[in-house]
């Protein structure tokens, strides 16, 4: 007899994500919050690979994966078809991609979709590197993170760049809603999904998803690490509406970034380097000031 959880959820058991995978949790929280009248797309990446190895699928809603950079364009086509069929008011369209498939190779299609005003919620699962291909650096890899293409070495401290400000880039398209969330705060995440889907027009939601394999930590720490990222100010949870910052998740007593970094193997190389640590603390401090998180 089939367990109840197979009919209750829109993303079900049996997928081959790593134990403790933040993205698999985020994906389920998103499509569960969206409900059964939802069509979803995915870019190439961990999520589609571990959820749809032929002939199986973990998706309990209609779902399509095409290529790496076109999730938003496929979603635009689905939305246009639903509009033509007169079904766009009853069916939600969610376009999904990882940080690479969104901020790098998928940026063009995403920007086009936002500009054209399609009624689609775009969700970026931000695990801060190209995880599916083996932990390579992406446009959303944070400062000093160790990835295979931004490794620390004799003349390097890891990734030398800051995260591309995707929430602001999307907000600059003057879309009704652009926000960030974290698997560490699952209820806030689902609230934001429901809020976004209640709005007609293009929406963007970026979700911080810790990755046990890529960030090098024990799977049981996924939620704690996600919370520390928010509590340190390194991953601010914000909401923009029509281009203006409207709400932030307050962090009245921000934790020092070291508490977040020391749990992850990808930052191990800078824990004993005060100058490099200070650079990361500066990023957090700037966020706290800019978004008035305190």
């Amino acid at each position: 007899m089939l367990s109840k959880h197979f009919s209750e959820h829109n993303f079900v058991s049996g997928h081959t994500a790593c134990s403790g995978c933040g993205q698999s949790l985020a994906a389920r929280l998103v499509v569960d919050a969206a409900g059964k009248n939802t069509i979803a797309t995915s870019a190439t990446g961990c999520l589609e690979v571990f959820s749809t190895k032929a002939p199986q699928s973990s998706w309990n809603i209609p779902w399509i994966h095409s290529l790496f950079e076109n999730s938003a364009a496929i979603a635009s086509g689905i939305e246009s078809a639903l509009r033509y069929l007169g079904k766009i008011d009853n069916i939600r369209v969610i376009s999904q991609g990882g940080d690479g498939g969104t901020a790098d190779i998928g940026l063009q299609a995403l920007s086009g979709m936002l500009e054209r005003g399609h009624d689609v919620l775009y969700v970026c699962y931000d695990n801060e590197a190209y995880m599916n291909t083996g932990i390579q650096r992406s446009g959303l890899t944070p400062l000093q993170a160790n990835t295979t293409t931004s490794p620390p070495g004799k003349v390097s401290f890891g990734n030398p760049k800051l995260k591309k400000p995707m929430v602001e880039i999307c907000a600059a398209h003057h879309i009704p809603y652009s926000a960030s969330a974290s698997v560490g705060y699952p209820q806030d995440l689902q609230k934001k999904v429901k809020k976004a889907l209640s709005i007609r027009g293009p929406k963007y939601l970026q979700i911080h998803c810790p990755c046990p394999l890529g960030w090098r930590y024990d799977p049981s720490l996924t939620l704690e690490i996600a919370r520390l990222a928010v509590q340190s100010g390194l991953y601010p949870l914000v909401e923009y509406e029509y281009g203006k910052l409207s709400k932030v998740f307050k962090v009245p007593k921000p934790k020092p970034v070291e508490e977040y970094l020391k749990l992850q193997g990808r930052f191990r190389h800078i824990l004993n380097k005060k100058e490099e640590l200070a650079k990361i603390q500066q990023v957090a401090d700037k966020n706290i000031e800019y978004y008035q998180l305190k």
């Binding site: 190895k53 699928s57 779902w63 994966h65 095409s66 635009s76 086509g77 246009s80 086009g112």
Partner: protein, 394 residues
């Protein structure tokens, strides 16, 4: 109704008759008039379609992929760089068995950048699993679109169709063409009813990970389906004739080949010029003929063999070359004869690249060269002054 139309307008009207629900395209010369014509129909309320102005060809192909996956008939058009940019998506569409319709206004590939006609763009996609038709004139363009939708959307086929038309020659040239009435088109082309689609009532997952244990069969299935397309084309053609009163889509068209000693092979609008030359040569007593290939993919091997084996000399003229080897059409035709003893002598000619005019004189020269020793790849009408041993700046 017979109208004197620019090719692009005729094509736009044909697409309008097919009633796609989603149209998406990105502008590129010389396809622009086609999508501009469609945009005007939509703007005037004459065509109920979602017209999606995308930010690149890659997205245009992706939008129509998404729309077809939802069970909505769609349309896109492009040329040259656009076709190559969206090539990743085109392979994806064929693999996903979605009957997208694409009109390719054939144009040369960069570099150097060149906006004039040759076949290199669509020929480069011959491995993709797309059905490909090459139109000689405006009427064929119109008719191939209508028949292409019907073939592609057949539930046993479910493959995308590319109707190739020579850029500028067919897109911007003007001809008298019959635009069928909506009533007749509706009789011939029923609404699209896919055997699978994205549907909240019956959720399915598309675009799976296919590992080595399953991938090969998916390609074999397309290969076998394309063989079914070869059989289906003549049947659709008969059905079309019953309703519209003319035969147009065929696998090949043979022009004065029954007793021909020399047969030329070509695709597209150049066939019109070749037919004129053949008439002139026949008047002089020469037994020349033309084998016009209309359906390039699937490649109608039997039909081509049946006609060419009668000749003693064959000259393949094509507007493409597989650099480092020979013209692709020449290569595929030579392969048909294998180790046959009675094969005609086949020579290959590359002409008209980057829009260089293929003149009647050039075709006559091809006939003469075909009679001489066999050569696999002769470039016609080269300007020797533009060829230098070493790099120089002029």
């Amino acid at each position: 109704m017979r109208e004197f139309l620019e090719g692009s307008q005729a094509i736009a009207k044909a697409v309008k008759l097919a009633k796609p629900g989603v149209i998406s395209a990105y502008p590129i010369t010389p396809q622009t008039h086609i999508v501009e014509g469609l945009a005007q129909f939509v703007a005037d309320g004459e065509l109920n379609s979602e017209f999606v102005n995308v930010e690149s060809e890659h997205s245009a192909a992706s939008v129509v992929l998404g729309a077809e996956a939802c069970g909505v008939r769609s349309f896109t058009a492009t040329s040259s760089q656009g076709l190559i940019l969206m090539s990743e998506v085109l392979f994806n569409i064929a693999g996903m068995r979605l009957p997208v319709m694409l009109v390719c206004a054939n144009r040369a590939l960069s570099a150097p950048i060149n906006i004039w006609n040759d076949h290199q763009d669509s020929i480069a996609l011959r491995d993709s699993g797309w059905i490909q038709f090459y139109a000689e004139n405006h009427q064929e363009a119109v008719d191939f679109i209508l028949q292409g939708y019907k073939i592609g959307e057949n539930p046993k086929i479910m493959l995308p169709v590319m109707v190739c038309i020579d850029g500028y020659i067919l897109t911007h040239g003007m001809e008298v063409v019959d635009i069928p009435s909506p009533e007749l088109v509706d009789k011939f082309l029923p609404p699209y009813k896919p055997p699978y689609k994205l549907d909240v009532e019956e959720p399915l997952s598309f675009g799976l990970l296919g590992d080595p244990t399953v991938y090969m069969e998916t390609r074999y299935a397309i290969q076998e389906t394309l063989k079914d397309v070869l059989k289906m084309i003549p049947e659709i053609s008969v059905e079309f004739e019953k309703i519209f009163g003319r035969r147009s889509l065929r696998l090949v068209e043979d022009y004065k080949t029954e007793d021909a000693e020399i047969i030329l092979v070509a695709m597209g609008s150049v066939c019109g010029t070749i037919k004129d030359v053949i008439d002139e040569e026949r008047d002089k007593g020469r037994r020349v003929g033309l084998l016009k290939i209309i359906t390039y993919r699937p490649f109608p091997k039997e039909e081509i063999l049946d006609i060419l084996k009668k000749a003693r000399f064959v000259g393949v003229i094509e507007k493409a070359v597989s650099l480092g080897s020979d013209g692709p059409l020449y290569t595929e035709i030579s392969a048909l004869f294998g180790a046959s003893k009675d094969l005609p002598q086949i020579s290959g000619f590359v002409a008209g690249l980057g829009g260089r005019d293929i003149t009647k004189d050039a075709i006559k020269e091809v006939i003469e060269l075909t009679l001489k020793e066999r050569k696999s790849c002769i470039f016609m009408d080269l300007n020797k002054e533009l060829l230098w041993e070493d790099f120089r700046v002029i």
